[in-house]
Amino acid sequence: MKRRPMTGDHDHGTLVIGGNSPIGGIEGKTLPASIAAVIGCVMVCLAAGQSAAQATTEAAATPSANAEPVLTQAFVVGNLWLLVGAMLVFVMHLGFACLEAGLTRARNTVNILFKNISIVAIGTLTYAGVGFSLMYGDDLAAGWFAWSGFGIDPGETGQSPAYNDNYPYFTDFIFQAMFAATAATIVSGAVAERIKLESFLIFSTVFVGLVYPVIGFWKWGEGWLDAAGFYDFAGSTLVHAVGGWGALAGALILGPRLGRFEAGHGRAYHGHSMPLAAIGVFLLWFGWFGFNGGSVLSADPASMSLVFVTTMLGACAGVVGAVSLSWFLFRKPDLSMALNGALAGLVSITAGADSITPGSSIIIGVIGGCVVVVGILSLDRLRIDDPVGAIPVHLICGIWGTAAVGIFSTNEDHTLLAQLLGIAAAAALAFPAALAIFFVLKLTIGLRVSPEAERIGLDIDEHGMEAYSGFQIFNTQ
């Protein structure tokens, strides 16, 4: 099953340059200019003014003018479901924000929230500017690299069933764009409480804009990995492991939070709000129905319903696995493990949600839940500091879930070998690339805040603001 089966002979590249398409389109230069504006804080109005002129000149035809040859059921219902799915994936960003904030200390909460809302904004704009083109553009190098020009443009037929039987061009874009920002958000959790805000924003922009879409193209854009028989239904590898590699790179280069592994055996820094963390996990779980369910890329009842069942059972089994193992190991039922277990189950099930049986989904989830507990303990022992468990959840379970397709899939075309190839390929680009970006940032504008800032908290230091004004909070950890 292809991620994005294009049925129309949509010529992506040329139209953007031409710019005379009926449905607007973003001019090549407009968007990156806007993004540069964010990062450098410059010239927003200038860029806006300039392209305002361009935009009005090309505003000739009504958007939905000739987009209705015949609206098949698949097209109308598929489109509805994918847009609902896109919204659900959007909610996951709130989930991430809550989870990360909840599992870190109160004095860094504003910083985390700021990072999360910024990532959504920057990630989406960057993806519109270059990512979508890199991921689903024209194959320029034998399945290794794609490009169709800057910006998004549906062309003549993009908004009709000629583009795809199940959804129009813009739906395709928005669904993919919601996914893209996720990869950067995953990194956010692992580097929390010590990374410089600017450095993180730049990292995210580059990671979402360049690294994520290139790897995505290899498989979902029908590149070489797809040809090699690799299967990743909704992104255990392409989204979660890629983000996880970024998280690992960040955690390694930054080093642990001040005092985390000092004084012999080190200290646990307790998250400041378990309700916030729980809200985050429930919302992520909720959004995951769109993440996985939407990845059916149509409203086919049989597939959709199977995906819902495997996703739900996987998550439940993840909770059971993580709770059982951690209760057994620590003699206490640890809420943070239950929460991570749910996510572990979800990440694990993501690669094969449409091609395994419900029974297998339970097994995959339970193992995922156990894996995450072991992962958290191991990272601790290795003195890699990951405040929210992003690496065990997204990287390790992402790998496990991808491999599990090779073991449990009911589709004979899926082989463990191809799965391992995909895992390795993603690792081979994502990890070094993330390391490289972080390293360049470290050498230039610096990656880590001062120890002083870490002590008083990034909220006061970077934002001059407290998350809970007036509340008496012990700042001793």
Binding site: R267, A268, H270, L329, F330, K332, D334, M337, I376, L377
Partner: protein, 113 residues
């Protein structure tokens, strides 16, 4: 005049207040505190790591009274706060040199009540 400071178990505050009121000690101030004493250490778990917590939740009471009332206050607090288990807390009595009522500017013994 004396300033009596006491650390008690949080859940005993209502009883202590009642016991003090019964003895005509109507003005007190209360704040939140953590205490480290002989109580057994609590072990907190977080993501597989155990931390020892030796700071227990306490409530701190402050009451400024005339000399003649000190015993009353002490008795009241003991009555209300005693469970007999380790961790019941302490009472400290400190000399109080002067006292002012902000509302009226009154000073000394008159201001205390």
């Amino acid at each position: 005049m004396r300033l009596v400071i006491a650390y008690i178990r949080p859940e005993k505050l209502p009883e202590v207040k009642q016991a003090l009121f019964k003895r005509d000690v109507l003005k007190i101030s209360v704040s939140n505190a953590l205490g480290c004493g002989d109580e057994p250490t609590i072990y907190e778990q977080y993501r597989g790591r155990t931390s020892e917590v030796d700071l227990h939740k306490k409530v701190r009471i402050e009451a400024a009274v005339n000399e003649s009332f000190v015993q009353n206050v002490v008795d009241g607090i003991v009555e209300g706060a005693q469970t007999g288990e380790v961790g019941d807390g302490k009472i400290f009595v400190i000399p109080l040199e002067d006292c002012y009522r902000i509302r009226t500017g009154e000073q000394g013994h008159d201001a205390i009540g």
